[in-house]
Amino acid sequence: MIHLENIHKTYNLNTSNALHVLKGINLDVADGDFVSIMGASGSGKSTLLNIIGILDTYDEGSYYLDGQLIQNLTETESAKVRNKMIGFVFQSFNLINFKTALENVALPLYYRGVSRKKRNDMALGYLDKLGLKDWANYLPSEMSGGQKQRVAIARAIIAKPRLILADEPTGALDSKTSQEVMDILRQVNEEEKITMLIVTHAREVAEQTHQIINFKDGLISSIENMRQ
């Protein structure tokens, strides 16, 4: 599903100061896998996730997503790949605050050209699956953190992507809600067969995935296989 070869990324803070964040990452994630990336803040794990999500570019190496080389894509091309292949779950939810839960969930389908009635029906179905049917017409500001993250998950899976990228999905939630969110993500991975890549710094979150990739100073330091 994901094939990374010698990925480098440097941020130029100013003319004399450059930050070498990724120093040659090699990684393969198989289709349907459930993987977590762990590491201290600043270790480059979020940067890698953004590169995999084509939200950011890389300087060196090559990245294949489902066999397609992701390099020098125009914004329009990358938007299409994101829309078709990738769902995002963010730490800060990133819901559009003036849209209701239903409208937020339906948005990826809008960009896929699905008719309004059909996408709203589908969005309601997904909200129902995540136990939020009664909250469909509420604004994000009227919902709790756990509810918002469930709306975000519904939005990430509605377009049936091949890959979900979750950047600290439990980072803003209490431990009970965190567990609920992890249960949902695992369920999505098992039932919808969607490859799941989670960035976290919480050990108890990482331990629930099949594989933990440990990050240190821009390099993969170790890979733990959790499945017996």
Partner: protein, 417 residues
């Protein structure tokens, strides 16, 4: 497309204040422009109506009182023009097109049965209707045969006809002045409604001499001149007229009080200069208002796009192409400017048309007062052009910042707070 508008409607609904502020600066700009241009036009129309009384190239000579002693004659002498002075002028003046001596009687009663209309009367020669800008709506004006044979015929205003002959044709009917019956041969109207004067009646000059004025005194002499096109030429011509009559009537050629020569062309040109000044002033303020509107819209769009950078980041992560985001912003901006531009246009035109119709109504009821404000409406083409400019500006004002926002990497847009 329908989907796009649903998406835009949602944004507008969610950002009522922003939408209102943008819309208000547009609507206000258009509204003020229409009011300003309308007021300018009203003033101009009002003043122009004063010039409709006599045609632009006409001059008229009114006798006055001498203010300088001349060849042993005391000053303070009242001059009197006679028919033979008119004949003299007619043979000696150059480039004359129409010419008429006028005998005016200020207060007469026009009687038909029990109905009476008090008005003034002018004895005129054929051709006077051209100088006076009369529109003959039925029948004819005084002609040469009428004048030569001193026929008792009369031309009256349609309003007067309406009072004396309600619901019937007045042509061929008789009215009495001083118990002398006159046959109505023509009905006239005036351009622009004719202001508020009590419309006068016209009879042949020779008829007037026979019945009212055996001494053949002349109240004024009116004529139109060809080949006089600017105020200098008109001044030279006026001087020649004054010199001709100064010799004949024995007054100082420099004495402007002895003879009033009213020259419509130079008054018209003076007024034209004032109008041009007013028009320039109105346009400067109008364009200023438009620019203020454009700046307002640009500002709000700039802030809007900045505020929405994070939202655009989210949309991009979900698969929005740069084009779709550009279209979202520009079409939203276009929708708001068009909608509110239309509102401003409706309000502005509604107000100016309303004022115009009220003025038109009260204008007929009032008397004597000259109207300084007539039909304060605006050329629709100008307004539509202004609205189009504002809408275009709104689109550009949305496009430029949106283009910049769209070029931001999605991750940077997402991190934007």
């Amino acid at each position: 497309m329908k989907d796009l508008f649903e998406e835009i409607f949602l944004t507008i609904r969610a950002n009522k204040q922003r939408t209102f502020l943008t819309g208000f600066s547009i609507a206000w700009g258009i509204f003020m422009l229409i009011i300003l241009l309308g007021a300018g036009n009203g003033l101009q129309n009002g003043m122009m109506q004063g010039f409709n009384y006599m045609s632009k190239n006409s001059m008229s000579i009114h006798p006055g009182v001498t203010s300088m002693p001349y060849k042993g004659l005391q000053k303070g002498r009242r001059l009197q023009l006679k028919q033979n002075d008119a004949d003299f002028l007619k043979t000696h003046l150059k480039n004359i097109a129409e010419f008429s001596a006028v005998y005016q009687k200020w207060s007469i009663s026009l009687i038909r049965g029990k109905d009476v209309v008090s008005t003034s009367m002018s004895g005129v020669e054929p051709g006077y209707e051209v100088m006076r800008n009369l529109i003959i709506s039925s029948g004819r004006f005084v002609n040469n045969t009428d004048n030569r044979e001193s026929r008792k015929v009369i031309v009256i205003h349609s309003k007067t006809a309406g009072v004396l002959f309600p619901n019937e044709n007045s042509i061929g009917q008789y009215v009495q002045i001083n118990q002398v019956p006159f046959q109505i041969v023509g009905i006239y109207e005036e351009e622009g409604g004719g202001g508020n004067r009590q419309p006068e009646v016209y009879i042949p000059l020779n008829t007037a001499y026979t019945i009212f004025n055996p001494d053949k005194n002349v109240s004024n002499i009116s004529f139109t001149v060809t080949g006089v096109n600017n105020s200098e030429e008109s001044e030279i011509y006026t001087k020649e007229v004054r010199q001709l009559l100064a010799q004949r009537l024995q007054f100082d050629p420099e004495d402007t009080n002895a003879l009033w020569i009213h020259d419509n062309l130079s008054s018209y040109m003076q007024a034209q200069t004032i109008f041009n000044g007013i028009a320039l002033f109105v346009w400067i303020i109008g364009i200023g208002t438009l620019i203020a509107g454009i700046v307002g819209v640009s500002n709000i769009m700039l802030i809007t796009v900045k505020e929405r950078t994070h939202e655009f980041g989210i949309r991009k992560a979900l698969g929005a192409t740069p084009r779709s985001i550009l279209r979202l912003v520009v079409v939203e901006s276009l929708t708001i400017t068009t909608m509110f531009g239309y509102i401003g246009l409706l309000l502005g035109i509604g107000l100016t048309e309303g004022v115009a119709s009220i003025l038109a109504k009260t204008g007929q009821a009032a008397t004597d007062k000259p109207e300084i404000f007539v039909n304060p409406t605006v050329d629709l083409g100008v307004v539509l052009a202004a609205t189009a400019i504002l809408i275009l500006a709104g689109a550009i004002a949305g496009y430029i910042p949106a283009k910049r926002a769209v070029n931001v990497k999605p991750i940077e847009a997402l991190q934007h707070k």
